[in-house]
Symmetry: C2
Subunit: 154 residues, 2 copies
Amino acid sequence: MDKANYNEILNRFKVLIKENGMKYTKQREVILETLFFSNNHFTPESLYLLIKDNYPKLNIGIATVYRTLNFLEESELATSISFGMHGKKYEFGGKEHHDHLICKECGDIIEFLDDIIESRQEEIAKKHNYKIQSHNMQIFGVCPKCQKNKKFKG
Amino acid sequence: MDKANYNEILNRFKVLIKENGMKYTKQREVILETLFFSNNHFTPESLYLLIKDNYPKLNIGIATVYRTLNFLEESELATSISFGMHGKKYEFGGKEHHDHLICKECGDIIEFLDDIIESRQEEIAKKHNYKIQSHNMQIFGVCPKCQKNKKFKG
DNA sequence: TTGCCTGCAAATCCTTTGCATACTG
DNA sequence: CAGTATGCAAAGGATTTGCAGGCAA
């Protein structure tokens, strides 16, 4: 399932690369692949480290990760969220839109989608004559796990 | 009106300063004052430049602006929002909670508050057993002014 | 073979820190 | 007068850029 889905994404990626007069490289492929399959939120550095781990034979530098993430974001194959504390994180961008519930203690992230909030947002933008492009909402709190830990600590 | 309000804030600020064994300085006062009265969203640098402009006799360094903004934010007298493009911005924090509608072209910001969204957020956090602390929502779009400009350009 | 990509290291940007001096209380 | 705050400049951390060699087309 995921696999089939991925091939579609990979094709879109290849087309984008060709359209931009760029070249298809192993590094670029691996970055997209990791974003897609790990289904996680990465800082450029954490993504870089994971790739080094998973593909020990592949030579990769962090500059390439930055460069590729920027390209992927422009192409809407990656999305970034920036939240105060834990820096800017990227995730695969081809998923359905969703928002984030973030633990301020451990940085853990839960994704959610709420139709009511979505439609209110549209209305608010319309009310102010803004042409809505995207939006981005984060709820910050303490996750159940960290609430427990805090209790034990004091 | 604002003036009376400001005195209250200023008192709170002075108390905070005393409580923390800190000292009341002109620089700190001017930073709070500017945040309060300009009712605007500032990067540390833009705030710094405005103050230099408005108080030519006052000697102020950007390090002090950073230091004071950090203190104000901890004390909840300033709030920051970070949105991808236009960096991290601070605003006076004593206002009622609100969210932001941001123009991606010119960085213009409209504040809004929507009760329905607010209550949905509480419910979502509760559903996931998160202890909610804060949240932060940005809608990105193009403001009416920039929509017009775009038309003329192309 | 051409010219884009890469890793590396240097450069840049933003923010914080160390230090000597200035000022508050 | 003691001890904090300041401005400046240097240090730090994150991201971008320049370059010489490597690889895709």
